[in-house]
């Protein structure tokens, strides 16, 4: 019966976190809104992965698989992100003027 109790406890924690993230979204915190929302999402995901998906008692091979997945996606985000973050978007010279102006609107 301990098993069911644990699922219920995790479910309760998830609901509390959902209420917290929902309420915090209505406060004007600027950048911190994004931070709080994604920090709570990460905690919720961790609860699901560690307890519902049993990563807690997973073998070494399974932990490695989970870690590599997280590592690879972070790597792809860092590499692509560093490219886009340092790239100047330049409108192509062959675009018609009205397309050029709409491209500038998108950018700013």
């Amino acid at each position: 019966m301990g098993d069911y109790k644990r699922q219920l406890l995790i479910w309760f924690c998830l609901m509390v976190l959902l209420a917290a993230t929902f309420s915090s979204a209505w406060l004007e915190l600027g950048f911190w809104n994004t931070f709080v929302n994604f920090a709570i999402a990460a905690i919720k995901a961790a609860l699901v992965v560690i307890f519902f998906m049993h990563l807690r008692r997973g073998s070494r091979a399974i932990r490695v698989a989970a870690f590599i997945a997280l590592f690879m996606i972070s790597l792809l985000f860092v590499i692509s992100g560093s490219d886009y973050a340092t790239r100047q978007v330049q409108s192509a010279p062959w675009q018609a003027p009205q397309q050029l102006s709409s491209a500038i609107t998108v950018q700013r």
Binding site: W11, L18, I68, A69
Partner: protein, 216 residues
């Protein structure tokens, strides 16, 4: 002893080894699924950093009430299937069957609510390319936001459909008392898939509904 022996495929030495291989295989599959969703998440990050205001304005037009109810539904379904797997492990097969039906019903409820949301968005001209209209200074960025919204939630819904089919499949086998087939190992692996779909939604919820809900 005999029934236990029948469950082991010939390439495995023991039930434990078979179980480990099956679980490992599912985790590898889920890792590839993460790579599948990854570019869309990155596309969102790009849009959020390049057309930040438009993304903020667009996210205030998604239906936060239905989105939050749906998050509750999906988190509860995850707890239900985790309990179903626990029940099957403890030999409570009737309870496991009922919990699997509950999981499938919650998944279906999610899809129905999602459908109602899509209808609202259609009525409010928020479907990119099809009579899309938005505040003129944000039109371009908002259209990209809603493109990502529909692709991400659509892809998520496809995965959820697969999960519902899988869950119903095992629930029906349990109802027919086909215990050898609907064993602990397989239900546990179906649950892993369900939880992954839930985890994807856990991140979609703040991305699509919460960013800059207060601002503007």
């Amino acid at each position: 002893m005999n029934t236990e022996a029948m469950q082991i495929a010939e390439q495995f030495d023991s039930a434990a080894q078979q179980r480990e291989a099956a679980t490992f295989g599912m985790w590898i599959f889920l890792a590839t699924e993460l790579m599948f969703f990854g570019p869309l998440f990155f596309g969102y990050l790009y849009g959020r950093t390049h057309f930040g205001e438009a993304f903020g304005a667009a996210s205030r037009h998604t239906d936060i009430a239905l989105g939050t109810i749906n998050t509750t539904v999906l988190l509860t379904s995850s707890a239900a299937i985790a309990s179903a797997a626990a029940a099957r492990r403890l030999g409570a097969t009737r309870l496991a069957m009922r919990l699997l039906f509950v999981t499938a019903a919650l998944g279906t409820l999610f899809l129905v609510l999602k459908g109602i949301e899509y209808r609202h968005e259609w009525q409010e001209h928020l479907v990119p390319g099809l009579r899309f209209s938005f505040a003129p200074q944000y039109t371009d960025g908002a259209e990209i936001f809603f493109f990502l919204y529909f692709v991400l939630t659509g892809l998520h819904a496809v995965h959820l459909c697969a999960g519902i089919v899988l869950t119903l499949f095992f629930a029906l086998h349990l109802r027919r008392e086909n215990l050898l087939f609907a064993n602990e190992e397989k239900i546990e692996i179906a649950a892993l898939y369900w939880h992954f779909v839930d985890v994807v939604w856990i991140f979609l919820y703040p991305m699509l509904y919460l960013i800059e809900r207060a601002g503007g």
